[in-house]
Symmetry: C2
Subunit: 252 residues, 2 copies
């Protein structure tokens, strides 16, 4: 026993209690490495272990955003999974990653699990959180989402005054998707991928084609923005987004 009234100083008690490392869920933002926060930067530089999500083969976007800020000698844990709109990786991928991360935390090493955008906004970090939150201290560092990044590069406000803003994943069934888009003042459609054709059809049917803007790879080198009406492809990148504002003059 240690602590107030026991004769042992508090410092001793606190040292004994810290028997594991901390898991940081770090949002690294939408793509531009300058769009990470000072806090994310500090943690990224200080931790001995960095875990990052990646497609089954090829480069990790989250790691490429963080790379300019990482230091030599950090242990890295890749978490590879299918990256496709509406396809979710099996739990085993996260079980295995959580086990590797737990091994470092048990050895009192802090771990930063990074992700594009924000950890708790449709982020893959939450599956690690679900597996580790009951055993280890976890701190989440919020990140700039694709939502506000897309609005910024379009030069078009997202929502104003008493607007209701809906964030809607494109893989939803056509009828549900249509109802969601119809029933709000402003709307952001995410996870578009191969659902672009269905999405265009719905937006056209609702008479909203002239209110819809398309953004791909917002804030990255390969960024592209366009009125949705001019986008003639059937399938979009995973990192694309459509913004719809029905009251375009709400901020006048």
């Amino acid at each position: 026993m240690a602590g107030p009234g026991t004769g042992y100083p508090m410092e001793c008690s606190q040292t004994v209690k810290r028997s594991t490392g901390t898991l940081y869920g770090v949002g690294v933002g939408p793509g531009d490495p300058e769009l990470i926060t000072l806090k994310a930067l500090r943690i990224l530089k200080s931790v001995p272990v960095v875990a990052w999500p990646a497609p089954l083969s090829g480069e990790s976007l989250a790691r490429s955003i963080a790379a300019p800020h990482m230091r030599d000698g950090q242990v890295e844990i890749p978490i590879r999974m299918p990256i496709e709109a509406g396809v979710f990786p099996s739990g085993e991928v996260y079980d295995e990653a959580a086990q590797k991360i737990a091994h470092h935390l048990e050895a009192e090493r802090d771990v930063a699990a990074i992700c594009e955008g924000d950890p708790f906004f449709y982020g893959s970090f939450m599956y690690l959180f679900g597996r580790l939150a009951d055993r280890f201290p976890i701190e989440v560092i919020p990140g700039i989402t694709s939502l506000t990044a897309a609005a910024a590069v379009l030069g078009h406000p997202l929502a104003a005054r008493n607007d209701t803003l809906a964030v809607v994943p494109a893989p939803l069934e056509e009828g549900v998707l249509e109802r969601r888009i119809a029933d709000c003042d402003a709307c952001v459609i995410i996870k578009i991928g191969r659902h672009l054709r269905k999405l265009r059809r719905i937006i056209d049917r609702l008479g909203l084609l002239n209110n819809a803007h398309y953004v791909e790879y917002a804030t990255m080198d390969q960024q592209r923005t366009s009125p949705l009406a001019d986008i003639m492809i059937d399938s979009a990148s995973y990192f694309s987004i459509v913004l719809i504002h029905k009251r375009g003059d709400a901020w006048q």
Copy 2:
């Protein structure tokens, strides 16, 4: 005349064209000065003029977030307005602020108009944008919103998989507000203030009281989080937010 084919080098042409300063809309994030981005920091340090929103009397939250990053000698333009949920300042406040900012831009001085959170996410910046975008170059630097900051400090994911997430302002009429909250998978209620009592009544009626969490001053010194069920006050701070997640295990 200058430019390609005129015999003048492009550098000359570009110099001639840049006859005004740039207006930067800079999101400074939810409150913790460490939650601003590297890009916001760079711009904040480099511009000669900083404009900030503030209540009619008292301190500006946006300025207090930016203060540790500002430098001596910057010209400051306070934009004072009523800060209350559902009350919008008169256009004259922004007309006057836009005029002051335009004066600096015309003199080729860059101006950073800062705001809490993100400039295009219910941010007051968009009213300056609406008045100045046709006359001056404008760049928007996205910021961390209260949305993801609140989820981070609660330790509770905002939305996962194919969830529809709705952002709903509390000043909406009771029936509309109830329908908006009922019809989504996850919900964030903003601009609560004196609408807290109405909001609690709706959430209780929908049987969602145990799914609702209250956050006040997220990431700031005076931060407070609580299950909504335990909040007994009738009126909340302007900087409060309620998160509702109907499928609490979506990330397992």
